[in-house]
């Protein structure tokens, strides 16, 4: 998984996608007054069984056959799965109950099963509860472990399907259920291209993790999952406000998540995103939770500041806050932050960003000599990068020195494009550069803990 995802981040570097999870009014849910028996080969309980088996069979991070389980499913099946999984969890907590409810959009409805469906779900709940039956731990703790096992494995399962869709291994565009559907606005080269609708695997994974006990907000796996997925999506150029909004409710004080949330808002402020959104033709009921450039920059600043308050040595947050402040016209503070970051940065990529942004701030503040020095340092870090070269050239051009302006840019611009690398090109995805490794580590630690 790690290598495949890393490669794909590079491959898909240029495509930006905005996602919005659609919370359509729940309809045709399995209720006492509106049961809608699915007309297909498998019954509802059999679909639940199929899902549980696929989740257990799936090896986290692998492209195995179990990920294809939904290929034969219809949109309704997916919606019933959410309801029936809820029933299963209820039965795991209390095997004696026979009245079941499903809550959605603030409304609770009773769920009624046929005899055969109920018998199978009871059996599945018993098996799931006994998975850790021989543990010496107490009953409550055992129940919690078994419940969380299903929920976390389920989240991993849907995460891997979603990743396969992003990297193109799995085809998108299947009929999406009305509740768990995701609209994606494709923006290749800054142009809004129609909406794609897909099964909302991210949303489904989030809904599973919400049910983790004793509380999702106190669970280390859930915390790491939110941060890693936020980074991973951005690494792929997917801008997903729903994930960040949901995550901030759970982890409002987590520096890592605050940083990723801030990066998202920084990216949403980009003119290309703003312009694509303004020009996109989307149905009235589909809303992308994106504000104006000014508001997005303000939110990015706010979140970067919070991240730094929690973790003052978060170097990357300081660099990005410096840039955002510069964009907001707060050049003096931006300059101070970037100067400190440039001095502290060890990783070449972060050094490069710090020097480049600091150079721009010095240039804005009228210190062209120091700007020249800083752009020069950035250029030394990545000799083939065009951005600092163009910046150096422009300084000469603004001074009226045409000869130097030409010389500064020609050495790099004459090189073949495919032989060059400029970290500026991947700035809005760089926050996800370690996400694939983080996801692998998360899976490994989950499996270790799950085996105990």
């Amino acid at each position: 998984m790690s290598t495949k995802v890393s490669d794909s981040i590079v491959r898909l570097a240029i495509v930006a996608v905005i996602c919005v999870a659609q919370f359509a009014a729940p309809h045709a849910q399995s209720t006492a007054d509106s049961p809608r028996p699915p007309s297909r080969r498998l019954s509802r309980s059999e679909h639940l069984q199929e899902w549980l088996q696929a989740v257990e069979r799936h090896e986290p991070g692998r492209d195995d056959e179990s990920l294809s389980v939904f290929d034969s499913w219809r949109p309704d099946d997916f919606e019933y799965l959410a309801i029936d999984l809820n029933t299963l969890l209820s039965l795991m907590a209390d095997p004696t109950i026979r009245t079941f409810y499903w809550s959605a959009s603030g409304r609770s409805r009773q769920v009624v099963y046929s005899g055969s469906d109920l018998r199978l779900i009871l059996s599945l709940a018993r098996d799931a509860s006994e998975r850790r039956g021989e543990d010496s731990v107490g009953l409550e703790r055992r129940r919690a472990r078994n419940r969380n096992h299903i929920l976390k494995r389920g989240a991993i399962f849907h995460t891997d399907i979603a990743i396969e869709s992003i990297i193109g291994v799995r085809q998108r565009g299947r009929q999406a259920p009305s509740r768990f559907q995701e609209f994606m606005l494709q923006m290749p080269d800054g142009r809004a291209q129609g909406l794609a609708v897909d099964v909302g695997h991210w949303e489904f994974a989030r809904s599973l993790l919400d049910k983790v006990v004793p509380a999702a907000a106190r669970d280390e796996f859930v915390r790491r999952w939110y941060t890693t997925i936020a980074a991973l999506e951005q690494g792929f150029g997917q801008l997903s406000p729903p994930h960040v909004t949901h995550g901030l409710r759970l982890f409002p004080d987590d520096a890592g998540f605050l940083f990723q949330a801030a990066c998202l808002h920084e990216a949403l402020a980009e003119p290309r995103v703003q312009e694509a959104l303004q020009n996109a033709a989307v149905p009235n009921d589909v809303k992308f939770d994106i504000s104006s450039r000014r508001a997005e920059l303000r939110e990015a600043e706010n979140l970067f500041r919070k991240a730094l308050k929690v973790q003052p040595d978060h170097l990357e947050a300081r660099i990005r806050l410096g840039r955002v402040l510069g964009l907001r016209g707060e050049h003096a503070e931006a300059e101070g932050l970037l100067r400190k970051a440039a001095a502290d940065a060890m990783e070449p990529l972060l050094q490069y960003y710090a020097q480049l942004f600091l150079g721009a701030e010095r240039e804005t503040l009228g210190d062209r000599a120091q700007a020249r020095d800083l752009y020069g340092r950035a250029s030394q870090l990545y000799p083939d990068a065009q951005s600092p070269r163009l910046a150096l050239s422009l300084l000469s051009a603004r001074d009226g020195n045409h000869k130097e302006a030409l010389a500064a840019m020609k050495t790099v611009l004459a090189l073949p494009g495919d032989a060059r690398m400029d970290p500026w090109w991947s700035y809005y995805r760089a926050q996800g550069r370690k996400a694939a490794d983080d996801l692998t580590e998360l899976y490994i630690s989950f499996l270790d803990e799950d085996r105990r």
Partner: protein, 286 residues
């Protein structure tokens, strides 16, 4: 000439007849301005220095030299080869590039800058048009659009060297808005105040705004062509070249104005109600 490369060329030799190529050389104080004069959309020919009323910071100047058509060109094509320029659009672009290059005179030079997220000088200024055409044939669309970076690079490439009696023309083609440039529009527009090169923009009309290119062409005294489709792109490119050849290169030595800073220019034709297009001004000094 150091530090004054953008606007400082002056006549050293005497005014030449129309049949000859005038000779320019450099001297610090001189300013030259590319001027298009049209009447009912048609270029006005036969104007002499006495016909031009040039005001530098509002101060009337004496025009030293006016030339028309004879000065060789530096033509730089700056072409958007981002992801969206594919299929027919790319074919049309290649044909347009080839066509306009084929219209150049032997004394002209051409260069090619392509840009997606990568800005690439595919051909430096050369009188070997076949070389530029071959470079054009090799472009393949991919990636995002660094319109600001690419326009800047082309502008620098087209700028005539100090002692080079040439006129710089940049034709920028794009079908979208900038998505990834490092350089900011305001800084490039600022740098354009020190260039003699004239920028024409050709943009496929879309919902995306092209305010930067409008502004750049306006400031350099060029023009914007907005098209619905690239089908007639070759005609558009040739039209720009033809129009550019119809421009006067007017030179004067500033008098009665301060040496440094921004100089606003007003160019008119005495006694005639004609349309005049020229750059808005020039920046002098450090």
């Amino acid at each position: 000439m150091k530090g004054r490369a953008i606007s400082a060329l002056v006549v050293v030799s005497a005014f030449s007849s129309h049949a000859q190529t005038p000779t320019f050389s450099s001297r610090l104080e001189a300013v030259r301005v590319d001027v298009l004069v049209t009447e009912d959309g048609r270029p006005v020919r036969g104007l002499t220095p006495a016909d031009f009323d040039i005001r530098d910071q509002g101060v009337p100047q004496t025009v030293d030299l006016v030339s028309f058509e004879q000065i060789p060109l530096n033509v730089v094509l700056a072409l958007d080869v981002s992801d969206s320029v594919s299929g027919d659009r790319l074919d049309h672009l290649r044909v347009a590039g080839r066509t306009v290059l084929g219209r150049l005179a032997k004394t002209d030079q051409a260069g090619l800058v392509s840009f997606n997220h990568v800005v690439e000088v595919r051909a430096e200024l050369t009188d070997n048009v076949a070389h530029v055409q071959a470079a054009l044939a090799a472009v393949e669309p991919a990636g995002e659009t660094a319109l600001v970076d690419g326009s800047y690079a082309a502008m620098v490439l087209a700028q005539p060297a100090a002692a080079n009696a040439r006129r710089g023309l940049v034709i920028v083609f794009t079908d979208g808005a900038d998505t990834i440039s490092w350089l900011t529009p305001d800084r490039v527009l600022d740098a354009s105040r020190r260039t003699d090169a004239v920028v024409y923009g050709v943009i496929v009309r879309s919902r995306n705004k092209a305010s930067f290119l409008h502004e750049l062409s306006d400031r350099t005294g060029g023009g914007m062509v907005e098209i619905e489709s690239t089908k007639d792109l070759a005609d558009r490119f040739v039209g720009i070249l033809d129009e550019f050849r119809q421009r006067y290169l007017v030179s004067y030595t500033p008098r009665g104005v301060s040496a440094g800073g921004w100089h606003r220019l007003d160019v008119r034709i005495k006694g005639r109600r004609v349309a005049v297009k020229a750059r808005a001004g020039y920046l002098s000094g450090q």
